[in-house]
Amino acid sequence: MTRPHPGDSLPLRMNREFAAYPFKPKRYDARLPSAAASGETRSAAVVIVGGGIVGLATALGLANHGVASVVIEADDGVCVGSRAICFSRRTLEIADRLGILPALAERGLPWTGGRSFYRDVEVLRFAMPHDASQRLPPMVNLQQFYMEQFLLDAAERRASLIDIRWQTRVTEIVGRGDGVELALETPLGRYRLRSQWLVGCDGARSAVRDAAGLKLQGTSYEGRYVIADILLRSDRPVERLAWFDPPSNPGSTLLMHRQPHDIWRIDYQLRDDEDAQAAVEPRNVIPRIDSHLRMIGERPDWAPIWVSLYKANALTLERYRQGRMLLAGDAAHLLPIFGVRGANSGFEDADNLAWKLALVVKGLADESLLDSYSEERVFAAHENLRFALKSTVFLSPPSHGFVLMRRAVLVLAPAQPWVRSLINPRQTQAIAYAHSSLNQDASAASGFSAGPAPGAIAAEAPMTLFADGAARPGHLTELVQPAFTALYFTAGDLPGSFAGLERRLQDAAIPFRFVPVLSGQLPLAARPHAIDSGHAAFAAYDARPGTLYLLRPDGHVLARWHEAAAADVERAITRTLRPPGPSKERS
């Protein structure tokens, strides 16, 4: 779930009845860069404002390409409170490339589906796409503070490339022709910082967004939800649970999610006539949660931890780039929490932006490549909004027509399976950039009967991976690295022209990996490769010997050919980095 809008978050003071999160964030001191005492302006290639999920993921993504960044964070450590808790398979793939998958796998709770009830009758049982070919679960529940701490730990391991400035506030942002200048304030003093590129990951009330002169557009919804985290010992499985009009809370909609450490998230909808301030007071929250837990047979000795109020926003900027400033995450879009697209789309923003910005900073790509970040992620935000709004409208019917029809759906659902798709919460999935201007060689790509088309993410398949002289069972998405990756499906032949291509791209310092995917066991030299002995990847990609899928560093397909030539691959990469035609928005 996305973090609630800061203005709507009303954390309660702890009292006797409240428990604490089992997590103590590390605290970090403010620091002045050595030469800043004199007020001297320092400079950095990339400054990221905001050290939350999106800011840290962007910094780690840049570091994967060897690009350094300075992260400016107003707080003194990671957030606490009831924020995002559900992280998607796509987020886990990205997190793997950022080096934090083992920590997530150890701490997070995987799940695959859920159930919905009308009053006390089950009306829907849903499963997210999942099968034996998958490496990662469709969803993992984990508190945002853990996610941020894992990202932070990874960033600290790369301290030579990621410089985090805690307790540092941005007081002014001035655009310059070839960059941006920031005025920064810390408890130790002020200084100015110059940067070629500025990435705003500074949340719903983004200062970077204001400085760029961009405005969020869209709708705010009337339906209000109380969001509570509670401590409850329960043996219930990890799944998404929803109740419409439950006897415990007549007229309301109530959602329940399990988190690690016996913490449960309970969201419930307020009636239109309820006062928001009163609604988050313990005397009003506790009886409603208690009533529900009693209804479902849970034990009475639970304790509240955190309560806040949420109102759905469905807003996005129409572009995420303004000259040398880029926006990502909640600074760029605010999505309704239903369907868990907030933090997950922030990860996808960071993943999309990092490789493009890195290649621009290194001089390997025209800066117009960054326009494709805006194009693709604005498109994704609109897709996310479309799906999230359907969930929101069903959970909080906005008018009497939706109320009446929803009741009909819920009444019919137990006996009419076809109607249940309307109740399905439509959990987040990776968005395919089907019409991206980066997609290459559309005509060659259309001759496939299966497999990810250009713009889609790489499909999963189990395979044997060979690297550094050793074999291990693995999966195709592990082959996605911070480089363009050519997956060359073959029975064993490796045309010599690809060796030449590798050399040319290597000489040009363009990150590129050529990975043969073999249909049978054939000894290959030292080169990393994969064996698809079960033919799963060949089938999933509609591949035959000679088929090549070219993946971007974020794992989206750039192009595919049934009969690939090295020249095709080279042209696709060149056109991505140096698009033909006039470059737009040269500052």
Binding site: V123, G401, M405, V409, V411, L412, P414, L422
Partner: protein
């Protein structure tokens, strides 16, 4: 009709019901039912649909959940 189409047409009907106002909603749905009867053009199927909508052939849990009218004795 696939799931996306069902979703789309469901939303359009919700919007139409909202647009006609609270009072007129049953009339809109009655007109819609008549027009659908004409399109379906199958008396056996229509009898089944009427019984289902009235909660007469639904199982006990459906009737209870929906507060649908008790079957006539």
């Amino acid at each position: 009709m696939n799931e996306a189409e069902l979703d789309e047409i469901y939303t359009e009907l919700c919007q139409a019901v909202t647009a006609c106002g609270h009072e007129a909603a049953p009339e809109l749905l009655a007109r819609f039912a008549l027009l659908a009867m004409h399109e379906i053009d199958d008396t056996a199927a229509l009898r089944r649909l009427i019984a289902t909508a009235a909660g007469r052939d639904a199982d006990r849990s459906t009737a209870r959940a929906g507060g649908a009218p008790e079957p006539r004795r």
